[in-house]
Symmetry: C2
Subunit: 439 residues, 2 copies
């Protein structure tokens, strides 16, 4: 590859010239030079090992993961790539588009997800059994996004029967203030993160982008903001990295099915291959925390997966045996709900990198800073439903919101935590920051 | 309009609902709800009088101004509107696209400009004889842009015969640093501004976006950055505001025909109507300066227009008579070249808002901070050509750049000023900041 790099560091580093120098070897599926260049990994490289992958109809896929997709960029371990992403349904959910149209886009496209993913990016040297370390250097969203509630008869979102009326709400993302206005007097912090960041499955074929899995994908974990690093197991040669479902604001649970669904002008990633490292589920690292995850159709099982992942991680990190790790997790683990609406429900455990006091007991009622609801049930999902719904109804009544707006606001601002895990009794605590109301 | 506003301030302010409440009255040209909503000016309004106008194939035009275009948004004096813009040739000039393809896009579309403009925006109450005051609150460019040189046989750019080889260079715009790398060791500050900001002409019909005029348009004045206010004369009811040709980096003169041609994710404008104010050419106001402009096919005449505009402005601002105004301009005016490649050549005069010392004489040779070339001629264009070309050749030789890169770099970083204006002798001083070379 030395020649290619030397060439591109030179003065006339045009993709066209690159394509001429290294004509496509496979059967030509396109005659467009930029697509040939794309396949060769030359897309918009600029001096210094930074690749640009703009989102175009030819660099995105709507709603499907497929490990047979031709790589749209090809990078080496340690390179930085800047992905652009599109709005949902291949950029059709734009300000002004009605909920009827959004519904039609969903109904007319059965099977596939609403998300649009940019990629895949082929990382040279990545092989099954390796780990992809993806550092999120920077995220710049578009200036707008949308939260919507589909008609109840589609049975999507967490409470379709209770909130059957459709609604789409568009938001201006004021990035100078890092805020968006939900309604006059109600503001939400903008914390952009990729709802989907994932690699190819081992299995061939076409898979909906909706369910997350060991490959990452639609994790909807709102901790994956700028500055975070995500570790993903590699299942195919080149790993094949995608991102999409670009979220600007999301609550834990994402209960009405959507976040503030936006697109990223810049998702700036540095990608490294860690050779021969076994990893069963993604891990997330922030400046302050390590995070383990668990996803399953059964939320109780998702919690068990997360527990097993945490025990494995604590063995590696702290050298703890299984029972010490369980004790550590119970004492220090900050366990939260990622989402409950992607077929598989997701939870994650945050572990502080620095030694500190044990986690305080989670609140059962309002605090100075938060509205709080609490429920306990042998089925974690039932407890979550009850606590979340109580909170939605409380803010509806106490803050005089419409039912749909209360549901929408909870989807964007709920903080859902998992408290004590006694045998057969999951405690869910739903918090809503009082600072959401600014006047 | 009170009802509409009240409604939109309510909880369920969806464009769909708005369209239902106020069905389109004209003949339906589209059945798409969002387009009907668009025509009603309801596009993505959010609470608080902020409008969003995303750039889609239905909200942009490629290369033509036409005052018969249906408004894509409708706002009131004092409203804020956020325009998105596209890359050149309706978003086809993306990283990886070859110069051959860029050339084809130009050759296959004779007559129209390469620019893509978003709009028009109808401003309620604006009438011929009024002035539109457009405050540029914020500009957020895409993360990339392109500077290109078309083949010499097209006769475009300032020196097509001297630099006949085509080239496209793509740039990553590192907005965290506010820089882009031209080549290793050569960095340019990113200062985004709309190359095109303008209103409709009085005359009906289709006009290329290339030539600027009293309506503004393709002014390519690199002072029109975030924080600046542009005053445009109104020629038709509603004014009809457009923007496009979104520049990330541009030198005075724009000599190879292009800037770093990008697109804006956010062009955040507050638009006010000033009633019954005569204005013959646009004016520009920054925190520190007032600016007058002049554009003409003949650069000498462009300078005369700018002088007349400055005299008019000084009469209004300082109450000066014509001869005092000329003296003031000669003493305090900082006169620069906007562009020389848009059929009409443009110049502008910067006048400090605060009293200060007289303008120092412009340098004739290198200073501590700048490479400098100088030429004098009875024809300002000839003087500009000579000074600019000398500078291009100097940096080519002294900095060992290819001819095409030297030409490109001058198009992006040249600082071209007009010095003493003796009878029949225009002095042009071309400066290139030494800080462009960072290592």
């Amino acid at each position: 590859m030395a020649k290619r790099r030397d060439f591109l560091l030179g003065a006339a580093a045009t993709a066209a010239a690159a394509a001429v120098l290294r004509p496509s070897k496979g059967k030509a599926q396109t005659k467009r030079e930029e697509m040939i260049a794309l396949k060769e990994g030359f897309v918009g490289q600029y001096q210094g090992g930074v690749y640009l992958l703009p989102a175009t109809d030819e660099t995105v896929q709507w709603g499907w993961f497929n490990n047979a997709e031709t790589p749209r960029a090809r990078i080496k371990s340690g390179d930085t790539i800047i992905l652009e992403t599109m709005m949902a349904s291949q950029n059709q959910v734009l300000p002004g588009v009605s909920i009827e149209e959004i519904t039609r886009l969903r109904v007319d496209n059965p099977g596939r997800g609403p998300h649009t993913i940019t990629g895949p990016v082929f990382i040279e040297g990545a092989e099954p059994g390796d780990v992809l370390k993806v550092k999120i250097n920077r995220i710049v969203p578009r200036t707008y996004g949308c939260n919507w509630n589909l008609p109840g008869e589609l049975g999507l979102g967490q409470f379709p029967k209770l909130f059957p009326e459709p609604q789409a709400k568009y938001f201006y993302l004021d990035m100078a203030r890092g805020k968006t206005e939900f309604l006059p007097g109600i503001e939400l912090p903008v914390r952009p993160f990729p709802g989907i960041l994932g690699v190819a499955r081992a299995e061939s074929g076409q898979y909906s982008t909706v369910p997350p899995g060991p490959f990452g994908g639609n994790m909807d974990c709102r901790e994956m903001v700028e500055g975070t690093t995500v570790y993903l197991p590699v299942f195919v040669e080149g790993a094949l990295l995608w991102s999409g479902d670009s979220h600007a604001v999301q609550g834990n649970g994402e209960i009405n099915l959507t976040a503030v669904e936006s697109a990223f002008n810049e998702l700036n990633l540095t990608v490294e291959v860690i050779k021969k490292k076994p990893l069963s589920w993604p891990r997330i690292e922030s400046d302050t925390h390590w995070m383990t995850v668990g996803y399953d159709r059964d939320m109780n099982k998702a919690i068990r997966i997360m527990e097993e992942e945490t025990i494995k991680f604590l063995a590696e990190w702290k050298g703890l045996n299984s029972s010490d790790a369980r004790r550590y997790m119970a004492t220090y683990g900050d366990i939260r709900v990622a989402e409950v609406v992607n077929q598989l429900k997701g939870v994650y455990c945050m572990l502080s990198k620095t030694d500190g006091p044990a986690m305080a007991a989670l609140p059962m009622k309002d605090t100075r800073t938060d509205f709080v609801t609490h429920a306990v049930n042998a089925d974690a999902m039932e407890a979550m439903n009850q606590a979340a719904l109580t909170l939605v109804n409380r803010i509806k009544d106490e803050k005089r919101l419409t039912a749909l707006d209360a549901y929408s606001l909870a989807s964007l601002a709920l903080d859902a935590r998992i408290g004590r895990m006694e045998a057969g009794a999951y405690h869910i605590h739903c918090l809503m920051p009082k600072s959401t109301w600014v006047s």
